[in-house]
Symmetry: C3
Subunit: 257 residues, 3 copies
């Protein structure tokens, strides 16, 4: 299968030449591919941020797309580079669990990259994005059978997940992600909470439950069903994270009616 | 008409998965389209910034391009989502006035999106970029007649504008935009000022009028005709906004000779 | 020769409409070209940063790509706009030396843009990216013979370079680049240093030499062969630049064994 699109997700930022070098290597292997930036602003070496990002973005893509993910603090060590097929989506990613939060009803197909003939001739110890991921992606996009890349495996790093817990009339979870607006995205499924009495963010209480941000006056703290179906806390026309001093990992507790 | 290119302009930033999800939805509807990022760094919910950005960028595009704009603080409320044709340019934008600063000699054609069959099946209350704008853009790029999207309208939100005013030998206006170099872009047409005696930025005077930034010594404050034909204030090899303590909205007054 | 790809490298940032305007002009001339962002986060007017970026990125691209570089503090002055072919790579860049650090075994071919018929009809004094570079790039991508752009020249600005120097058992050089992870990239070729006794960064000593970042405990300062083959200083799972108070230009000294 040939691939029209390759997407790129990294923690390289945009003032460094690393992303550009990867793009050059991919185009050297397949000048006909289409390249799409997803993000290069994953915080440095933040595997959890990458995992949240991928789980919230990849499912919306058609399955022919190949996603290249380089958030790779263990580059050059014994950690493997993986080709993954999960629910029809195809990724190249380091074996650090970053892709394992993708929704998956069936078993993923995972291949360990082991064939240097699909890599750059000299592989550095510190930039596998350029030397392994990019050329392998180029070859895959030209129709290379993934089995050529290396042996299949059924062992890989899984990111531990801490689902929300219910005890009596309380569901406790945590902030998974803070977006650019300061909205707090939690791991508490909104379908479980109905219209709750209150939501505690750390020790601060949010009592207003709304349908969308514009449903309360500017400056009001609100809770609502976020676009991924989980409880979200927002400050109308403001930044809830700043107002509440909240961040990824801040405990959140929903008090049910 | 099929569209080769869809551009994206949002206030989503690049560490959040929102832009990536929109790209996935568009490619799911039309994998043959070409995607182009204009900016995802519009300041959060800053409709005026978006309006300046669009007015300064869209006119340079050929008319076949479809521009998707999601700076949308009122998402999920009763505000409409619009398809707009203005001077041959085509946009999808929330009805908050962000596109109404585009130069327009004739009446724009405006359609209110009302047909959920061109949206995602479940539409969230907080992410219409993914659930309405992206799939509608995908369908338009495949040649969908915009009339299918919903009814035409001649009522929409207009952004108020405050043109520069002349009184005697003074033209007063304001800073509309501060760019990354710290240059102050104003709303005062340069063709009206000739070579002025001085330009006041707040209470600070700039007396040097030049043709381009390199025409004065490093560290000199200068005024000049900016690339959009308006009066601009710059600090040679420096940051005028910082030096002058100026920002969007700072009053500017040109003293004519 | 027609060109499928045009890349863009600027110091314009992403909240300003400048990059978008350039993209619009290019597509107006050639709607079939493919556009690729390399970076718009070159620090404002930082020619040295641009030079490092280009030397580290361009060599990985196939030669059919056209690279447009607009880091141009002298815009509008007498400085020329150049079309350059160097080792098969093709660039449009201001004549400020930013491209002269690209590896080059043979003489580059350099043409001075002088034919306004390939520019926008009105050329501003402050935005040649939109008015000269973008339309010229569009025409080149459609197969325009570069000789049409203007006369060939053998005189251009060269960026001075300060290679590392060996004296006895010391090699002295400097930090050329600090990446987003805080890694310090130097101008000292790793092949000259073997496994050194120590590396001095300013007055601070780094004694641990490793193969890759993961080879030492978190929080350890290490030196290693970077992905471009030069000595690099890193802090395992941390930011070496912050820890060492180092920046571009900080002296680095390798003590050989």
């Amino acid at each position: 299968m040939t691939t029209t699109w390759i997407t790129l997700t990294t923690d390289f930022g945009e003032d460094s030449p690393y992303v550009a070098a990867m793009k050059g290597v991919i185009l050297s292997v397949n000048p006909d591919v289409r390249l799409l930036d997803l993000s290069h602003q994953i915080p440095p070496q933040d595997i959890r941020h990458a995992a949240f990002f991928l789980a919230a973005a990849i499912p919306y893509f058609p399955s022919s797309v190949l996603h290249v993910v380089v958030v790779d603090p263990a580059v050059g060590s014994e950690r493997a580079v993986l080709y993954v097929e999960v629910e029809g989506h195809r990724l190249l990613a380091p074996d650090n669990g970053c892709w394992t939060t993708l929704p998956s009803a069936s078993s993923p197909r995972v291949i360990c990259l082991a064939e240097p003939r699909f890599w750059r001739q000299r592989v550095s110890a510190t930039f596998h994005g350029r030397d392994i991921f990019a050329p392998a992606a180029g070859h895959l996009s030209r129709g290379l059978d993934p089995r050529e890349l290396g042996p299949q495996t059924d062992s890989w790093v899984r990111l531990p997940s801490f689902p929300a817990q219910q005890t009596g009339d309380r569901i406790t979870g945590e902030v998974l992600f803070v977006d650019r607006f300061g909205n707090l995205l939690t791991n508490i499924p909104a379908e479980c909470v109905g219209k709750p009495r209150a939501v505690l963010v750390g020790d601060k209480e949010v009592t207003r439950w709304v349908r969308t941000y514009a449903d309360a006056a500017p400056g009001t703290l609100v809770a609502l069903t976020g676009s991924s179906g989980h409880v979200e806390i927002a400050l109308c026309q403001g930044n809830a994270a700043r107002r509440l001093g909240a961040a990824v990992g801040t405990p959140v507790c929903v008090l049910l009616t």
